[in-house]
Amino acid sequence: MSLRYLAGRVAGMAGTLLGVAVVVFVVLRALPGDTITAKLGTQAATLTAEQRAALRHFYGLDASPVTQFFRWFGGLLRGDLGVSIDTGVPVTHLIGDALPVTVELAVLAMVIAVPIGVLFGMLAASRPGGARDFSVQGVGLLGLALPEFVVATVTVAWLASAFAYSPSAGTYVSLGDSFSGNLRQMLYPALVLAVGLAATVMRTTRSAYLEAAGSDFVRTARGKGLTEARVRFRHILHNAGIPIVTMVGIQFGYLLGGTLIVEQVFALPGLGRLLLDGILHQDYAIVQGVTLLVAAAFVVVNFAVDLVYRLLDPRTRSEGRRA
């Protein structure tokens, strides 16, 4: 991996992030009702023209959109995401509290889903078209089709009726407070997330494995008299691993912005919940901040996936052609 390649990628990523900032700014300026209406509610209607103008000036809303963007963007670069209009707390603080919850949820879901998905994907692919393939694929399809909100709803109801346990009652226990207490709150939502995730991983594993299994070099490996286990793990799975790792990385990125429903149903104070509250209260500094952060994280995760991909595949590691 050359320095030139890395520099190019980083520059491209910076460009994408700038584009992301523009999109966030443009889309969310269109939020219904401006900040003043949101802040003052019905009182806004009683403002005089002068008062309104003064407030607009105070919030910087009288400047041209381009000026507003650069003010906002300049703040971003200094790590200033603005202040929540609703609570007066800096958005960075709110995100700082919420981010670990979402990341933990995403990591936990991954830890559960990936081994299951890979294992069953291999099982299905080991004899394509067979009964095992058919049933694994059927369950996988169901896993994809079951909406998260249904699984989450049923899980909460089941926990309540079977264990008289309501994960959404009581306050959130962080990992620092109590490991077991935290795990008790996080395990079920992570399991719910893992359902669809495992199904996706399974399907990708299955097709990547089948693709690799049909390669010429697999025949060469068998022709050398290798054991079937070695052919499967060292040759087929190893080669199938590249698309699997790529897909898992991208899914992790999606998860950062996709835990909304689970956080809502299980009442976890993560990014999704923060975003949803922001939308419902038209607190658009929060909405901008969270959207931007998640998109930026997604871009960085994708970049990391690309680097891992390049490390895994020797063909992309070097530029020279011949030994």
């Binding site: 994408t16 939020l31 089709a145 996706t200 897909m247 939308i279 909405v287 998109a295």
Partner: protein, 298 residues
């Protein structure tokens, strides 16, 4: 709404020469076991949705004082909800609402994204660079998040929801269309056309487009299923269809307080979503099998 988004990468190869000229595409999908099941499931849902339009059963908004949260019976086949409204009628109307959003959003995304992808892939140069950067930026947002932010910005209503989903899916169609165009553009039969003096528009519309329609068709099926899940998820969160209008996502959200006792309030709307998504995925699989040269036997 799940984090699952069908992989946009061209997992599907451009139309295989081998499959052309064989039985027509619809017939090949029906010949595929998965495709056939998918078509039957989706056909049934579409019929139910159409039936709801003419109120063949009950009015989905009518509140029957006689029975709130009543179980399935002769009068109300699938029971009633907390306001005594007929679940069967509400599920049917919910399916209609879901399909409407899905069809409109995917139609928008397919036409806009597909066209941009085909044009940028075929023309290359500046157009390709600009479209490429724009899709990169849109791809930087996790799909669910982007849909949510757009709905927040655009406001409620089924059409806004459809537009939001369309924006999310447009860059995917750009990529799905562009990849195969690059392959087909360099194929020998397009080269032969160039040597024979065919115009660019003839090459694009007569030779390139018909040969890239296959992967786009597969993606349409997957996009529809994602759109249905997303619409239901947004409604579940209170950001899609607004009460009292029937929506599958809202019905599940409402059922939370009555489950598991009034299980029918959750089961039937959930089932409708699952059947729709399973059906569309099966159609997608069927399409893929019908179009993949490797599954064509001698």
């Amino acid at each position: 709404m799940t984090q699952e988004m069908p992989p946009a990468a061209a997992a599907v190869v451009p139309a295989a020469p081998r499959t052309a000229g064989q039985p027509s595409l619809p017939r090949r999908i029906l010949a595929d076991r998965n495709g056939l099941i998918g078509v039957v499931l989706i056909g049934a849902l579409a019929l139910i949705a159409l039936a709801s339009l003419v109120h063949l059963g009950q009015d989905p908004l009518a509140q029957h004082q006689s029975g709130q949260l009543a179980g399935p019976s002769g009068a109300h086949w699938l029971g009633t909800d907390q306001f005594g409204r007929d679940i069967a009628a509400r599920v049917a109307a919910g399916i209609f609402a879901s399909l409407r959003v899905a069809l409109v959003s995917v139609a928008l995304a397919t036409v806009i994204g597909g066209l941009l992808g085909v044009l940028s892939g075929f023309a290359g140069g500046i157009l390709d660079a600009v479209v490429g950067r724009l899709t990169d930026v849109l791809f930087a947002f996790p799909a669910t998040l982007l849909a949510l932010a757009l709905v927040a910005a655009l406001g409620h209503g089924w059409f806004n929801t459809a537009v939001a989903i369309a924006v999310v899916y447009t860059p995917i169609f750009v990529r799905v269309a562009r990849g195969p165009v690059l392959t087909v553009r360099e194929s020998e039969y397009v080269r032969a056309g160039r040597v024979l003096g065919f115009s660019r528009s003839r090459l694009l519309f007569r030779h390139v487009l018909p040969n890239v329609s296959a992967p786009i068709a597969v993606q349409v099926a997957l996009a529809l299923s994602w759109a249905i899940l997303t619409e239901a998820g947004l409604s579940f969160l209170g950001l899609g269809t607004q009460p009292p209008n029937p929506s599958l996502g809202l019905m599940v959200a409402d059922s939370r307080n009555f489950f598991p006792d009034a299980w029918w309030t959750l089961l039937f709307p959930a089932l409708a979503v699952v059947v729709a998504v399973v059906g569309l995925n099966l159609i997608g699989d069927g399409l893929r099998n019908a179009l993949d040269p490797r599954t064509v036997r001698r």
